[in-house]
Structure formats: structure tokens, C-alpha cells
Amino acid sequence: MIRRRLVVSASAVFVGLALAGPAVSGSNRIAVTVDRTAISTSLGHEFSVQSRITNNGGSAASSLVAHLNVLSLRPDVYLDPEDWSSHRTRYLRTIPAGGSVAITWRMQAVNAGSIAVFVAVLPQNGEPRPPATGPTVHVSIARRTTLNSGGILPLALGIPALLAALSVGLRLRRRASD
């Protein structure tokens, strides 16, 4: 369900997987890649981005959190990332040295316009260093009429009119039979 929250700014929709964990000494040890950097779709459609988090360090990387960020590239578009994906934070298993983890992020295009999506990986211990981020995926979402309103008026008037006619007919019939 689309939940409009005024607190949008916060989610500030920074999608990213960030690295965390005592085993991680530097964010450059962790690399985030995505399967594509441009997507075109239509409003309401679902799409997915596959990311891969690779540990380039010499030791295992543990306690990492990957987060998906979604934001509008235009100031006039309101966007609530929670509407796009209900599962935007993943807690990663330990990645061995040289190993990697693949994550698929499924989203639904809730707003039309020019949208950026990226993954950040950060350490779970909250260490104050920049998260490792993947490249921006530019999502172009074509506007489409969410509903064809043509024909609603005959329906909206017709059904009550039909029931009103039935009601009046019934009343007349009762009056005639009395």
C-alpha cells in the first residue's frame, strides 16, 4: 500500500549497501557492482536490480549491512522509498576474502520520472566511515494513466439509477395492488 509520509526527507532515499563489521578495515575492501545502470519502465510496473557485493580484502568481511536507496532526481517529484520496495535492508552473511554475495532488489515503479537507485554497504557497528556504494542505476519511468476514467460516469450514474427505478417500480406495484 502506498503510504504517504511527510517524513520523506529522512529516508532521503539513499539506497546503498554499506559495510560494517570489525573485520572490515576499509570501505575500499568492499566493492558493489550492479547488473545494469539504466532501466526504462512504466509507472506501476515491477523491475529488479541485481547487485553483487565483493570482498576484495585479504580477510573475511562480516557484519555488513546492504541498503537500497531510491530517490528522485527531480525536485518536483515526491518519492517514498518504502513504497518502492518493502525489503530494502539486508544483513549480509560473512563474505570470505575474495568472495562475493549477490542480492536481487525487487521494486515497483510508484512514481513517474527520473529516479536514481543505488546500493550502499556499511558496517553494522556504525563505524563512522563512508559506506561502500555501487554505481547509480538510472531508472526512467514513463507516465501512464493509472486508470482509464472513460466510462465511469455512465456506470456511476447507471447503477444507482437502475436501483432507484427498481425501487420506484416496486413502490408503484405495491400501491397498485393495495
Partner: protein, 266 residues
């Protein structure tokens, strides 16, 4: 008022149901309520389809919104009919002659309960064209209608039984209707809770335990999220339990406690 033939063939509860249905529908009350219901759905559908502020909704959301309003209001109509079932007869002075007919009180209760349910059935039939219109082209009409029928019927059975139960004990129709409506509003209150209050184990438990919120949640999962029917079936537990429990309670209370005067007066 119900007039029942002395020889109880066909079954007495069917005779009671038939007579109640005639009173409700040929008397015009059912049609007027359905007319008001269709007016509400027309305004809602028109706004959803044409109003820019509402048209941000994805098509599935529009169907879900309309369906949930239809279920809630349709079940409420059935509740009102149930709440009028016994206390209404009592207030109109027709309960005495009804109790003198060779029909058991259990069968009287069952007949009235079934007749009150017809308001929900009519409301659902009225809802079909609106849901079809709003959901056409995205392949959710069938699932939406089937889910709506299932959840709406469970909730209608629950609410009609609740109304009949209150009506059996209420000393006046006013008490019966106001108590029933108050309970209904209390059951709907959690839908207005902020999202945060609906999360966590307590919020989840609360939503699941309330048949109305659980039923609406289930409808949303099928219609909006496109989940298969079985995935969120656990959300149907409280609507099923409430429907079965209150139907049994109403029948038992009708058989045991239906009196010429109610126990609770207003």
C-alpha cells in the same frame, strides 16, 4: 413481522427466511439501502478514476480501496439488519405473535440471520461492476471479486450474528443499534492507527486478532501485492473463528434467551 404456516414443511427456518426476505426486499427497505450503497460506491469510483489527488493510486490500489469500502459498508448494512432482527420485532409489538408460531426460537434466529445476510449478498452484487471497471485490463478482477466474496461473507456472518446477539438482549431497538454500531466503530478504529503502531509483535497480533483488520489486510495482500491465496491464509483465522463463534453464540442465545422483553434497556 413474520407469519408462519402451522405445518412446518418446508423447514421452518426456510419459511422464516423467505418471509423475512419478502419483508426486506418487497417492502422496499433492502432496495433503498442498496441504492444508498451504490451511491456511495459511485462517488468513490468516480473520485478514484478522475480526481488527480486520488488518481496517484496504482490501479490495484484503486480496486483494493473500492473493495474494502464495499466490504466494510456491505457488512455494516447486514449488521444493522441483524441488530433490528429481534429488538425491532419487540418494539413493533410483533414478537409475541412470532413466538407463538410453531417455530423453534433457534429456527427463528437462523431465519432472521440468513435474511439479514442477503443485504451483504446484494451489496456484493452491486459492487461487481465497479470492481470490474476499476480493475479491468490488469488481470485482478477475478481474484479481487473472489477474495472480496470470501472475506466479505465471513465478516458479514460475524457482524450479522453480533447484531442479532445484541438484539436478543437489548431492551429497545435504539440500544441494539447503538451498541452494534459502537462495537463496529471500535473494530474499525485500528485501521486509523499510525503505521508504527501497527508494527511489532503487539501491533501484528492486534491486527490479526481483529476480524475486520485481518480480513482487510488479507484482501490487500491478494489484490495489491498479488500474493497467492495460500501465502497469507493465516490472516483469515480470526474472520473464520469470529464468524463461526458468533453464529453459534447468536443461535444459542436466540434459542435460550429470546424473550418478550429485553434484558438491557436504554
Amino acid at each position: 413481522m413474520v407469519a408462519v404456516e402451522s405445518t412446518a414443511r418446508p423447514r421452518a427456518w426456510a419459511v422464516v427466511t423467505g418471509q423475512e426476505l419478502r419483508d426486506l426486499w418487497l417492502g422496499g427497505r433492502g432496495l433503498l439501502l442498496s441504492l444508498a450503497f451504490s451511491g456511495l460506491l459511485s462517488v468513490l469510483s468516480y473520485l478514484v478514476a478522475t480526481n488527480q489527488a486520488l488518481n496517484f493510486l496504482e490501479q490495484g490500489e484503486s480496486v483494493n480501496l473500492t473493495l474494502q469500502v464495499a466490504i466494510a459498508v456491505g457488512a455494516m448494512l447486514a449488521l444493522l439488519a441483524g441488530a433490528d432482527a429481534i429488538s425491532g420485532e419487540r418494539e413493533r409489538g410483533s414478537l409475541e405473535s412470532l413466538l407463538l408460531t410453531p417455530v423453534s426460537r433457534l429456527e427463528l434466529t437462523a431465519g432472521k440471520l440468513l435474511a439479514a445476510l442477503s443485504l451483504w449478498i446484494a451489496a456484493f452484487i452491486v459492487t461487481i461492476p465497479y470492481v470490474w471497471f476499476l480493475g479491468r485490463g490488469i488481470g485482478i478482477v477475478g481474484d479481487a471479486l473472489a477474495t472480496g466474496a470470501l472475506v466479505g461473507t465471513l465478516l458479514a456472518i460475524f457482524l450479522v450474528s453480533l447484531g442479532v446477539l445484541v438484539s436478543i438482549f437489548a431492551g429497545s431497538n435504539r440500544v441494539s443499534l447503538s451498541v452494534s454500531l459502537f462495537v463496529l466503530l471500535a473494530l474499525f478504529a485500528p485501521t486509523q492507527f499510525p503505521t508504527n503502531a501497527q508494527q511489532g509483535w503487539a501491533g501484528d497480533l492486534f491486527l490479526r486478532a481483529n476480524p475486520l483488520t485481518a480480513g482487510e489486510h488479507y484482501v490487500g495482500k491478494i489484490v495489491v501485492d498479488g500474493h497467492p491465496w495460500s501465502q497469507d491464509a493465516s490472516w483469515l483465522v480470526s474472520p473464520i473463528v469470529a464468524a463461526a463463534l458468533f453464529a453459534v453464540l447468536a443461535a444459542a442465545a436466540g434459542a435460550r434467551f429470546m424473550r418478550l422483553s429485553g434484558n438491557v434497556s436504554g
